[in-house]
Each structure stands twice: as structure tokens, then as C-alpha cells.
């Protein structure tokens, strides 16, 4: 069962965006002065790649098969290894180039970015068969908000830049991870809305 479910995934999108993320992150590793700008963009791209893992063009057929959403989502979650591996590759390249990044916090940010993209896709998947574009865009805009609106950066940091003041990104990512786990658990059980809202009066 896992094979066909995985084969039907939007692999060109996941692999393509992960590839672009590796190139962007690789440039960050090659030019350390640009790393603090390029690494957050690289991680945002990986979050977008994660959002495409649940795309199902044949959802009208697939959604009525006996394989439930929990099992299908669990199998599709294996595809998250692609963006995670891409992120790990970029971090390895940065470490080999001697970049002084807080590696534990960077790893947590990578996991948080990818899980956020996946959680957003899970939530949007309850409404549409191809949540990638919508969820990916929403997640990228949220992740890039500190760069787009400098006032946001005073309160929230999504990437652990070395030596920067302000709040730690770790707190943000631990909270995001917890919220994502809850959102995924609720959405794959088909409860996109509270019970009182889904009932017809």
C-alpha cells in the first residue's frame, strides 16, 4: 500500500523545491556574509516543499477508498525525508565551511519549518485535494514575515542568527512544533471544524 501512495505524490514539486532550497542554502554556505539572509529563505523553501507532500490530484477517487486519512498521511509523511535531507545537507555544507551557527537551534528551526509546512498542508487537505500551493504560500509568507516587516522581527525570530539580540527562535519553534502536532492530529481525523460548527442547524 505504501508504494502506490508514495508513487502518487507530487514528487517533482517536492524534489524541485528542495533542490532550489539546496542551491540557495549552498550559496549561503559559500558566502557566509549572506548566510543570515539565505538560510531563512532556504528553510522557507523547504517548508513549501513539505506543503506539497500531501498533494493528491486524484483526491475525488482516493478519498473514498478504504485507506483512511491517518494511514495515507502517515505514508505521505515519509516524503518529508526529502526536505529534511536537503536541509541537513545545507547544514553539513555550512559546518564544513566553518560557519559559526548554533547547530542545535538551527536543526530545531529546520524541523519546525518542515513540520509547519506539513501541518498547514494537513489542515488545507481537509478542504482540497491539492493543498500545496495554498499552504506553501501561506507558510512562506508567515516564515518570511520577520524579513518582510522589520517590526515583526523585534518580537519573533524564525532563524537563530548568531550574535543577534532579541527573543530566541527556540521558544517559537517549540511552540510551533506543539501546535503543529495538535493540528495534524485533528485534521487527519477529519475534524477541520469544531463539532458544533460542522453540524447543520
Amino acid at each position: 500500500m505504501a508504494g502506490p501512495v508514495l508513487r502518487a505524490g507530487a514528487w517533482p514539486a517536492v524534489a524541485g523545491i528542495s533542490g532550489v532550497a539546496v542551491v540557495v542554502g549552498g550559496c549561503g554556505a559559500a558566502f557566509p556574509a549572506a548566510a543570515t539572509v539565505l538560510f531563512p529563505i532556504c528553510f522557507a523553501l523547504l517548508a513549501a516543499a513539505a506543503a506539497f507532500t500531501l498533494d493528491e490530484p486524484a483526491s475525488l477517487v482516493v478519498d473514498v477508498t478504504p485507506t483512511g486519512p491517518v494511514r495515507r498521511t502517515r505514508i505521505r509523511a515519509l516524503a518529508l525525508l526529502a526536505p529534511l535531507a536537503a536541509g541537513a545537507l545545507v547544514m553539513l555544507a555550512a559546518a564544513m565551511r566553518g560557519l559559526a551557527l548554533p547547530w542545535a537551534a538551527t536543526g530545531l528551526a529546520l524541523a519546525g519549518n518542515v513540520l509547519l509546512g506539513f501541518a498547514a498542508a494537513c489542515v488545507v487537505r481537509t478542504r482540497t485535494g491539492e493543498p500545496g500551493a495554498t499552504a506553501g504560500t501561506a507558510v512562506v509568507l508567515v516564515l518570511m514575515a520577520p524579513s518582510l516587516v522589520p517590526q515583526v522581527a523585534r518580537w519573533v525570530r524564525t532563524f537563530p542568527a548568531p550574535g543577534a539580540g532579541g527573543p530566541s527562535s527556540d521558544h517559537v519553534w517549540w511552540i510551533v512544533l506543539a501546535v503543529c502536532v495538535v493540528a495534524i492530529a485533528i485534521s487527519i481525523r477529519g475534524r477541520s471544524l469544531p463539532r458544533w460548527m460542522s453540524s447543520v442547524p
Partner: protein, 289 residues
């Protein structure tokens, strides 16, 4: 006595009326697009919030206008263009050709271009062109710098979105391109900071739809980099023309296709010439003022 009358060309009038109607329709769809509305609101807020505050260099302020009106405008027109794909079986049998519909979509870029013009006027009102934050450029070059950083990206971004929407099927293409362009501009700016005298680095820095011409120096003052702002404007406008022509090429047939390809070649050559002139003109070395 008989009078010979030249035959009227009713098709031209009908075609123009159809185009105006289509363009108005697309413009109505565009102005209510939530992404574009968000971009306009945040650009207005950003411009208003920056009034009266001293800036280290103008590029850091203008980059946000380019990101919102240009980058977000690109995503909005990409989705606007793609949204018609689902109705292609119906729209495809109407007597309007695909290039005509594409031209109507391209006309939508007038709206963000107008917003960019307003943002430029507001910027010049709040940050006078005699401000030292502009760097060592002449008064006319300063206007060219801000026009190239605010107005032309507001036009080029949405046009690029239409071209992308016509040719690329992947729904996340605009988002990925937006991040790639952002990465490119960031990367070449950082490299220019460390190699300000290098001519190849200057060409790389100008090889984009948006570029910084001056940056605040850590030692004090503003360092103006190599390159001619006026020729860079020409390069940007040539890129806009290329985006329109590439978008129109989709679905074009016969003589129209031949003419578009010919115009594309001319625009490509013009863009190349402008890029070379932009890199060769202006200051030949960085100037800190």
C-alpha cells in the same frame, strides 16, 4: 457622380472594444485580489511609517516597496492568469484569441504601476532628493535610482507573473521565483559589498529586476556603487517588454507569432546593450559621500 469610399475596418474597432472590455474585467478581478490588496496596504503603511525618520540609505527603504508591489504583484497576476485555466474549455471557444486575453491581463499591470508612481511621489515628499542618504549621485541620477527601485519593479513584477502563469503549470512557481529573486539580490548585494571595485560583480549586481545603487558604510556616509542608474532603467524596461512578449507568445499563431519572435529578438538585444551600458556607465569605482 460616384464617390469611392475606403472600406471601413470594423474588425479593428471591435477588437479594440473587446480588448478594453477584457482589460477592465481583468483589472476588476485584480484590484480585489487579497494578495494585491495586502501589498497595497502594507506599502502605504510602510511609506507612511517612514515619514520624518532619517534613513541610513534609501535602498533599504525602497526594497520593501519593490518586494510588496513587485513581488506580491507577481504572485497576484500569476494566480490571476492561472485561474483562467479551469475555464479554458469554455473561454477557448470564444472568438477572442489567447494573445488578446494575455494582452488584457498584461494591461492589469497599470494598477500596480500607478501605485508605484504614488509611492515614488510619497517617498520623494518624505525623503527629499537632496538627502545625503541617496549617496554621491547627481540630482537626476537620484531620481533614476528611486524610479528603478520603486516604480519599474511595480510594473515588471506583475508582467513577469503573467508570463509565468502563461508558460508554467506548477502552481508554486511564482512563490519559488519570488524567493529565488530575493536570494539573488541579497547574494549579489553582499558580494558587491566585499568586492565593490569588481566590474564582473557589478554586472552580476545589475543582472536583476531590482538592485541597490548605494549602501550605508560602516565607516560612516553612504557608498555609491558602480553602474549607471539611467541605463539600468533602460535594462528594466527592456525586461518588462520581454516579459510581455513572452506572455503573448503563448498561443500566438502565424504572422503574429513571427512578429512577436522578431520583437523578442530586438528586445533581447536592447536589454543586453542596456545591461552593458549600465555596468560600464556611472561611477567607475565606489564613491563614499
Amino acid at each position: 457622380m460616384t464617390t469611392a469610399l475606403a472600406p471601413a475596418r470594423p474588425q479593428t474597432g471591435v477588437g479594440r472594444t473587446t480588448f478594453v472590455a477584457l482589460a477592465a474585467r481583468e483589472m476588476r478581478r485584480f484590484v480585489v485580489n487579497p494578495v494585491f490588496l495586502f501589498a497595497v496596504v502594507i506599502t502605504a503603511w510602510w511609506t507612511w511609517a517612514g515619514r520624518g525618520t532619517a534613513v541610513a540609505d534609501i535602498g533599504l527603504v525602497n526594497a520593501f516597496t519593490a518586494i510588496f508591489l513587485g513581488g506580491f504583484g507577481m504572485m497576484a497576476t500569476f494566480w490571476l492568469t492561472r485561474s483562467m485555466r479551469a475555464s479554458d474549455p469554455v473561454v477557448g471557444v470564444t472568438p477572442v484569441t489567447l494573445p488578446a486575453r494575455t494582452a488584457a491581463l498584461c494591461a492589469v499591470a497599470i494598477v500596480p504601476f500607478g501605485c508605484g508612481c504614488l509611492a515614488l511621489i510619497a517617498f520623494l515628499h518624505f525623503h527629499s532628493a537632496s538627502d545625503p542618504a541617496y549617496g554621491a549621485f547627481s540630482p537626476s541620477a537620484r531620481i533614476a535610482v528611486v524610479a528603478g527601485q520603486i516604480v519599474v519593479p511595480s510594473l515588471g513584477g506583475p508582467l513577469l507573473g503573467v508570463a509565468l502563469g502563461r508558460w508554467v503549470r506548477f502552481p508554486g512557481a511564482a512563490l519559488v521565483l519570488f524567493l529565488v529573486l530575493w536570494s539573488w539580490v541579497s547574494l549579489v548585494t553582499v558580494v558587491s559589498g566585499s568586492h565593490p571595485d569588481s566590474a564582473p560583480v557589478a554586472v552580476l549586481r545589475l543582472f536583476a529586476g531590482f538592485t541597490f545603487f548605494a549602501l550605508h558604510s560602516d565607516a560612516g556616509g553612504v557608498t555609491a556603487w558602480r553602474g549607471s542608474p539611467w541605463f539600468f532603467l533602460g535594462w528594466q524596461l527592456a525586461l518588462c517588454a520581454i516579459a510581455v512578449l513572452v506572455a503573448l507568445l503563448r498561443g500566438a499563431e502565424g504572422r503574429v507569432r513571427t512578429r512577436i519572435i522578431r520583437a523578442l529578438a530586438i528586445a533581447g538585444v536592447a536589454a543586453l546593450v542596456m545591461l552593458v551600458l549600465a555596468a560600464a556607465g556611472g561611477f567607475t569605482h565606489p564613491v563614499t559621500a
